[in-house]
Amino acid sequence: MSESTALPGWTEILVLAPLEWLELVGEQICSATCASVAYGPPSLGTPKARAGCDYVRAYVIDSMDTAAWRAALQARVAALASLTGAPELAGLELRFRRLPPEDYARSWEKVWRPFRVGRLAVLRPTDSRTPRPGEIDLRLEPGAVFGTGRHATTRLCLGLLQRSVRAGDRVLDAGTGTGLLAVAACKLGARSALGFDIDPASVPHARHLAASNGCLERTTWRCGGFEVLTREDRSFDGVIANIYSDILQAHAQELGERLRPEGWFVFSGVPEAHALATRAAFESAGLRVSEELVRGRWHAFAGRAC
């Protein structure tokens, strides 16, 4: 039996209900096989709900979707107006739609495609493709923290890292998010990488990413801002920061002080409107910009400490 045939199909129950009563209507159409409900249009192509109303959706496994079950559900919803004393709940119309079986846990893989930046190939954990000669593979499972690694600033950093990282480097990654850039540095030859981020979800995600790319032992992850760095966390060969431009500007001096003389940096997260001011902040902090790349409205900078 194939995997898809083992999965159940579902029936969607859709109701357009007054905004104030969405929660109650949702509870009425919940089923024993699915206690959850969703609000809002069922698909991106669904017409917007009329003013004062929104869609409520619930689901039932299709083996339970019988004529008797539908009739009972319709009776329950029809009784709401008299039970609550709210005439606006009269005449709610239920619409039913069958959904084919689907493995929703893996549906993101349909819209997420592997991509390459120079020598780095960013792949899904389940991709069986073997790296081509000279190619370095990076396995990424998108999560809450930073998504898919496809953001323009991430791609700019991945490109610049390939020209910056040398074998044996010690690297610092400020605002590490998924840990993707720190892990990429390790895959490119860095001896160690220290990543930190104020988002508590970052550390477990980054640790998982490092483990799935075989470099957990070479990485250290901390939760917090710049205050988590100690006196010993200095003389790095390279510093990466893909963060908001105002934070880059405010911490340019500190980022520079964490580098050894002539150490390299790769910074991004800078929108067009802030590019000039951010570059000026780097140069005031003794950071010599040697390369500025642009992708869409985003800028990235690479260079060395004076």
């Binding site: 579902w10 905004l19 009563w21 969405l22 959850s36 409900v37 689901y59 609550t84 929703y104 991004s268």
Partner: protein, 141 residues
Amino acid sequence: MAKEVSAKVKLQCPGGQATPAPPVGPALGSHGVNIAAFVKEFNDRTKNDKGLIIPVEITIYKDRSFTFILKSPPASVLLIKAAGIEKGAGLVGTEVAGTVTKAQVMEIAKLKLKDLNARDLDAACRIVEGTARAAGIKVKD
């Protein structure tokens, strides 16, 4: 850097027991979100309220990352708790499952006001009272 919001999705799921099945799957899958990652994080954050229905609002960004905030429990859950009963009436309209006071209704309405789409506290009280009647819970003065 500034993340661009792609969509906001509202769901209600049982605490600690969400699964990638509908409605989570279709609601988030159409935006390319890693559903298993959402389910894991939601269940982790709600593990102390296992089985309790918890509304959640998910913000999805253009890079398909997401954040979510948990909202106040549904009015019916709060009413059942206030009435000190296990569940609402099986035969609504003929059976009284429990009783709550107007003051308790007011407290629940205050708690739910910002999540109920109600224009003011009176409107929120009306919704909470209606929800009580629909669950077979009597409201007394």
